[in-house]
Symmetry: C2
Subunit: 231 residues, 2 copies
């Protein structure tokens, strides 16, 4: 029987590729998404479609509410999503959600513990990371060390929990190529921070522009744009 | 102006004492409680009463749902709360909630980040910890190291985040004495895992028995029992 692994799945390009990688590595993937007060529910539909297409054993959507904490354009209706800013801007963008990956990985850890799984996958990336502190390798290593001390499995010495971040050192073009090699249908995914009706990408936010650059550098057309007649 | 601190507050004896300690140390306490699928909502009422009585600047109740992950008598209706088991039993009890403190501290970190607070207080305890792995000092140190890498403040080198666990090495009697010294009204608190109407403590669960032992060893009557005519 394949060992279970929890895969954090937003329904975007990166996490979808990670789900395909976890499956190829021989894990039985359990996909975990969040309803966390984000403005657009479209990415949850994308996550469900992707989980189904890539054969996740189960897809669970956990509801949490980060809105009372405020402080981000992705969850706070009073802060506008920036368009067209320089992608190389070193400043942390307002789309940063406070402690988001820490919260998400904590829930993944809770599920991993009840599944008796010792593997968690997350699609963070140090190269295209847009200035988010919780996307760096040293952060992932620190979370892994903490998780090992937090759980029954750790206390009982049964297993060493591992946080897999297989995209950490890949650029967007390499991620796209890896996904295509594994048969990912990127038309099912959703990356835009501010999508229109039916999930139509805005084309101007950081996420849309990083994605476009990735497909351009990989030398392939984005099937999502084809779906919306923009190819 | 007093610096803000986030204080995890269940409404029980330990976290209430921690709130009083944070206030005495000169912080402006921001109390954080959770509605997390626990069977009894009474402890949230206790938390609100305690937050008010001890002058918390704000009391926020975050809703999360750990039930889909299952695996604990505190959140899973199919698992019975054990009564009368040996308190020195080294085995991890079924009341253990998977990754609970990690999830709670993650939310505290999110709030701390938006408040620009560098201090989080939690009432964990290594002596009376009932076998929970995420109550050990090495776990708290690992979370602190991870949190420092997770946040904007860490990246920008502005401040070092601290997780305060002032009860870590106190026994229940010492906690009670410390709280009484700081003027805590323990009649407002709720410890029982399985309370009756109005929050009446069952008297048989681990939490009730640890509490009773603490008051007995401190040589004082528990004002909560007096409230229910059991003194």
């Amino acid at each position: 029987m394949k060992p279970p692994a929890v895969v954090l799945l937003s329904g975007g390009l990166d996490s979808t590729t990670v789900l395909a990688i976890a499956r190829e590595q021989g894990f039985a993937p359990h996909a975990l998404s969040f309803r966390y007060g984000q403005r657009h529910a479209h990415e949850l539909q994308a996550a469900a479609a992707v989980a189904h297409a890539l054969g996740a054993v189960r897809h669970l959507v956990a509801t949490i509410d980060l809105r009372p904490f405020g402080g981000s354009a992705l969850t706070d209706a009073a802060v506008a999503v920036p368009k067209g800013r320089a992608l190389e801007d070193a400043e942390i963008p307002v789309t940063y959600v406070p402690a988001r990956n820490t919260v998400f990985l904590s829930f993944a850890l809770a599920w991993a513990e009840t599944l008796d799984a010792s593997d968690i996958f997350i699609g963070v990336n140090a190269l295209d990371y847009s200035g988010y502190p919780d996307c760096r390798p040293e952060y992932i290593a620190a979370f892994e060390a903490m998780a090992w001390l937090a759980t029954k499995a750790g206390v009982e010495g049964r297993q060493r929990l591992r946080i897999h971040a297989p995209l950490m050192h890949l650029n967007k073009a390499q991620i796209v190529r890896e996904g295509l090699r594994l048969g990912v249908d990127y038309a099912l995914t959703s990356s835009c921070y501010d999508p229109g009706p039916g999930g139509r990408p805005c084309g101007g936010c950081d996420a849309c522009r990083l994605r476009a650059r990735g497909f351009a550098e990989a030398g392939v057309a984005d099937p999502l744009l084809r779906r919306f007649g923009r190819d």
